[in-house]
Symmetry: C2
Subunit: 262 residues, 2 copies
Amino acid sequence: MPDLAPRVVVIGSGNVATHLAHALDSAGADICAVASRTSEHARELALSLSNAAPAVVVEEVPTDAAFYIIAVSDDAIADVAATLPPVQGVVAHTSGTVPIDVLSDVTCRGYGSFYPLQTFSKDRAVDMSAVPFFIEGNTPETAAALRALAERISPTVCAADSRLRGQLHLAAVFASNFSNVLWGVAGDILAKEGLSLEVLRPLLRETLEKAIDRGPDNAQTGPARRRDTATISAHLAKLSDPALKDIYSSLTNLIISRQCQK
Amino acid sequence: MPDLAPRVVVIGSGNVATHLAHALDSAGADICAVASRTSEHARELALSLSNAAPAVVVEEVPTDAAFYIIAVSDDAIADVAATLPPVQGVVAHTSGTVPIDVLSDVTCRGYGSFYPLQTFSKDRAVDMSAVPFFIEGNTPETAAALRALAERISPTVCAADSRLRGQLHLAAVFASNFSNVLWGVAGDILAKEGLSLEVLRPLLRETLEKAIDRGPDNAQTGPARRRDTATISAHLAKLSDPALKDIYSSLTNLIISRQCQK
């Protein structure tokens, strides 16, 4: 490590807080307290760290840490900001959507965002070194401090102001949330045949890797790409739900128009 | 191996033919000929096998092999069927969409389909042991023979008549082709910010694995899941293309209606 272990207070005890605390702990940061409204969760997280840290309420965090990472739900960030005592370090939230100004009334060295672009679940391991971090600070010095902290975890650290985080979030909704619901539709079709989505796992893994390696338009396959109108009509005839017919048509037309623009 | 190495003729030299020939070769089958209209490709594939097989035209395949695997584009299957001489073995195509009756006029021991549910590219390695195979035969004996051949490659072998293959294909279009085009939309949004789809790779990998492990409806996240109308409105305002606005709304409504049905 080029510098001394930075002292970090983690505020929150949910999925993001848990994964970040463990990643910072493994990266040699000193998690000197875990703060949460649900003290049992905070205690559990605090005890799981290499130096069992105290679990405290937000009002009682140590005030001399270098960083205060607020990893709570978007709605709760303003509450935490209002409750936090004056502190000496940098305060940052982990939200992809909330502007950093929500923290502007906190007395601190600087404030910003420390946003890991990933979906976290408590019981699923995540390779944090592969997660991109998006950083914003209210001053260049704050941004640099947050960048140095993120770089302890991941080699992929980018600057992202609130506008850019908004565009990232929009991209993630198309790429992640919307794909996910289409996998739900596919799962229903398979379930009626006694099959599970599991049979599509190898196909979907390969589709994803190929899309990113070659670009989705180059990697596209299927009836829309081939303009195979017989198959498209047969598929539409199989769909009884008008909403699904409409989505099938819209996405088929989107594939065709993107292929024409290539 | 419980039985002698089956002699297999591979017809085709494209992506599917190449991956299947190598997988069968590695699994101890004896690829006794590769047939293709483009003799250079056939020769290249034939020479890459452990026993350099002859490259021939379809009219001149050996007639005494156990299997003839027709791995050509859907449109070309009927042509191959019309050109193939009378043979002693089982003839099968690898299409997810073409009924097996396209092979009914071939003189052979039996005919069917041998469909690996995966997307193949020549220069991308695929773990064939993870690929599900869907099998259909014109007789139970033919189906059993094709199943035994598939089980040399993969532990996941299912029976699938033409109707079921059609449903599988419909599910794959929703899950794979339609997700892929949404990744294209996301890639465009990122490109305008100087970022590539690469930044979403860890998120999308985890979204995919979680969707299959827990079911997409349980794994769903994002503004539609939370009914976060402020974020949904902000996203719609950012989209200038009416087709994308329409797709955003339709998929948001689909997420909301699926969450209500849970």
